[in-house]
């Protein structure tokens, strides 16, 4: 049965519906969709990896700034309360809610940082045309698998809603960490849109050969 099929490495199966396609070299800037379910299979942007890496490094630095600098502060009736991103996590530290503090820490800080470090680790050598590092594949798989659990963008929308809620109650000052965090979100969205899993796996294969 397989005799009639092209070599397995030239095939690509849709991850969503299992339809087989013959992999082709796409002209730069074009996209290939699944012929049955329409899911995006691959994009061709030869220069994308260098950009993804640059964005990941920028986002990593901004994320460190976002957890170190003051995030928001509240003034009312002579009292002031400054809040960092860490304080938002620690809001759930008491009693039964403690596991939620751990979960929130993962969703908004730990997982985004893990994804960024894994990408930088896996893609760094590719950009320099060097051989991939020994766990580059595992790192890239991890970065992709953690994608749904990285919720920085949802957090920033939550913060905006919270700001509108307290606007009537007290004066809020927005600190540099807020803008750093917003920067992380914008960059992460841009970066994730550029990632074509298939091309990155191809590059990892070629770099190793």
């Amino acid at each position: 049965m397989t005799a009639s099929l092209p070599p397995l490495d030239d095939l690509i199966a849709c991850p969503q519906c299992d339809t087989l396609h013959q992999a082709q070299d796409l002209p730069p800037g074009s996209k290939a969709h699944c012929s049955r379910c329409g899911v995006l299979l691959m994009t061709s942007k030869p220069e994308a990896v260098a950009r993804i890496l640059a964005l990941a490094i920028t986002a990593f630095i901004l994320m460190i700034a976002a957890v170190s600098f003051p995030f928001l502060s509240l003034d009312a009736g002579g009292l002031t309360n400054a809040t960092s991103v860490i304080d938002a996590v620690l809001a759930f530290r008491d009693g039964l809610a403690f596991p939620l503090a751990v979960a929130v820490a993962f969703f908004i800080i730990v997982i985004p940082l893990m994804r960024l470090s894994a990408l930088i680790y896996a893609l760094g050598p590719l950009v320099r045309n060097a051989a991939p590092r020994s766990y580059a594949r595992a790192a890239f798989t991890l970065a992709e698998r953690l994608r749904p659990w990285s919720m920085a963008e949802i957090f920033i929308v939550g913060v905006t809603v919270a700001l509108i809620k307290v606007a009537g109650l007290a004066a809020v000052t927005i600190g540099p960490a807020f803008w750093a965090f917003a920067g992380v979100v914008v960059i992460t969205v841009l970066k994730d849109q550029m990632i074509c899993r298939y091309s990155i796996w191809e590059m990892l294969d070629k770099a190793e050969a």
């Binding site: 339809t19 329409g38 899911v39 309360n81 929130v104 809603v161 809620k165 899993r197």
Partner: protein, 200 residues
């Protein structure tokens, strides 16, 4: 033609195609399964857990507010009503969509998808696949309200004037979102297309 019909199995994380019967992807090292046989069981288990966790999330308070004059507790719906009273219709809509419409829509959509596989429905593959994609994409956004509670509780700590603390509903709501995300991830979308005989 599907990889399964061709006697092949594809890796879902990297796209590499292997002979049927291979269990580990040679490219990324991930596990290979032609179809996830336990998919429906896992989907139902996580979905039911998500629905159960959603009930206390609506009954108990999300926020405990105390000010100089009063102490109050607000539930998810209570928080939306408060926002409407303040005239913040846009924000009220965001919270209502994220905390009520998305979770309930997700329960219905995931339940419908699981039933459609269980009874082998052979139509509307495209609509069902679209529903699956929407659920996968949008489900995480329900977490907004949990983050609102986190930031409000951290920010509004002004001793005697006003303090806000998280209520227990925040925990069950977060659990509900996590469980339904796991339900959607356990769903093997390739099963939608298996009953499809119009394309071979």
């Amino acid at each position: 033609m599907s990889a399964r019909k061709a006697g092949l199995v594809a890796c879902r994380s990297c796209g590499q195609v292997h002979q049927l019967g291979s269990t580990v992807c040679k490219r990324c090292g991930g596990p290979l399964q032609s179809r996830d046989e336990q998919s429906l069981q896992k989907v139902w288990a996580w979905l039911i857990a998500g629905i159960i966790a959603y009930i206390p999330a609506n009954v108990y308070p999300m926020l405990l507010t105390s000010t100089l004059i009063e102490r109050s507790e607000s539930t998810i719906i209570g928080g939306v009503v408060e926002l409407v009273d303040y005239g913040s219709y846009g924000v009220a809509a965001i919270v209502f969509i994220a905390s009520v419409m998305i979770p309930i829509g997700k329960f219905v959509a995931v339940g419908y998808l699981a039933l459609s596989i269980q009874y082998g429905w052979n139509d509307r593959q495209h609509q069902r696949h679209r529903a699956y994609e929407v659920v996968e994409f949008i489900g995480r956004w329900s977490m907004i309200d949990v983050f609102v509670v986190a930031i409000l509780s951290a920010l509004v700590q002004l001793e005697t004037i006003a303090t806000i603390n998280p209520g227990i509903a925040a925990v069950s709501f977060a659990l509900s979102v996590i469980f339904t995300m796991l339900a959607a991830q356990a769903f093997d979308s390739r099963l939608i297309w298996d009953a499809d005989r119009t394309t071979t």
